[in-house]
Subunit: 228 residues, 2 copies
């Protein structure tokens, strides 16, 4: 049980190559995920106290699975993909994966300093999307170069870009999202071939949450792009 | 200091009519908010240990303000507004307020069983939007009736509605968002005059996070609606 508890920490997830999944629904989805389930612990077998000890949720769920991390995936510069440039909040990362799953994006890339995808809060917020979407850690500036070399555009969201509601958006390309506080880094910004802006409408807010900006941008590409 | 610490709990916020705001940026924005600041506590004055004790953040910020709750606001059935039907997660509520601020919505209504707007996590996630946007707790089904009586439409997001990307969306109306797990309640659903759907694009996800659904819906109304 101590081993399971240790998986709340990245250090031990890395060392053991394992992570945890909690909740009936997510554990049920594991069966179709192709991932190797090492162990399943149920409250009815071990009792409430043990579940509280091994869970990383505030309210421990009735079931927890220990799962082997998949081998790193790969993805060529093709399709419509997201690139996360230093997204640090696990809730945002999980929400963005869920969004990528809903909109059938081809892949999500993340810079090595982004939050780890096997963090229990990412797993939870993704609502199972981590079983279905490829998340690849890599150098985002280099990935932008690859997309451009493949003849595709690289889109960044900035405060001074083209109005996204009036922009012509292709079916393929790379959409870059930046850090919660600092936005897209300079190294990555200089690799963006097009700058997009979600205009404000008389509001006092200075910015949008990154998963909200991701949602609006991806929605524009899938709902209003492609055929423009 | 014990009084400040107690404001992490709703019971004491209600009893004292006070709440806390943390962070340099948010405390600076208080000055223009019209709210009464009762006390400001700075790390440089009280030390790290005290800040840790009174803060509700994992990483205590260098400054914390104790603020008097404003009197409940009111808003007639007009403009473009959101209605939250039992939104429970503080991060979602804060993110939705920030979104409402960015897009200049007129008001946000919330059912009494939604999370409390002065919860420190809501305040934090709103990034100051709680100082600028009206958030009114009320019966959502009754509010829907009011909007319809004023000749406006009430929009709900459902899995079996009209494709939002093809729908004609007016400049004014009420957009209803439902609970994280259960969606819009039956009592409120029956008051919606139009059902909208954000279509999925071959993904495996069963649903979207409520703040993501709010973002996409509001973005459609403001970016593509109004003049249709």
């Amino acid at each position: 049980m101590r081993m399971i508890r240790s998986l709340c920490e990245k250090k031990f997830r890395d060392e053991l190559g394992l992570f945890t999944v909690e909740g009936e629904k997510m554990v049920a989805e594991l069966a179709d995920s192709g991932l190797e389930t090492v162990m399943i612990v149920r409250r009815e077998d071990v009792g409430e106290k043990v579940m509280e000890r091994i869970s990383s949720c505030n309210t421990p769920s009735p079931v927890l699975a220990v799962v082997r991390k998949p081998a790193p995936a790969s993805h060529s510069a093709s399709g419509l993909c997201l690139a996360l440039d230093s997204v640090r909040d696990p809730g945002n990362m999980g929400t963005i994966l869920r969004l990528a799953d809903w909109f059938g994006l081809d892949c999500v890339f993340a810079s090595p300093d982004s939050v780890e995808v096997f963090n229990p809060k990412v797993v939870q917020a993704s609502m199972g999307a981590i079983f279905r979407k490829k998340l690849i850690y890599c150098d985002i500036a280099a990935k932008c170069k690859e997309f451009r070399a493949a003849g595709l555009e690289v889109f960044g969201t900035f405060l001074n870009g083209d109005n996204i509601y009036e922009a012509s958006l292709p079916a393929e390309g790379l959409i870059v999202l930046g850090n919660e506080s600092n936005g897209i880094s300079n190294a990555v910004a200089s690799e963006c071939s097009r700058r997009l802006t979600i205009p404000t409408f008389g509001g006092g807010a200075e910015s949008l949450n990154v998963s909200v900006a991701a949602a609006i941008t991806v929605s524009e590409f899938k709902g209003h792009g492609g055929w423009k």
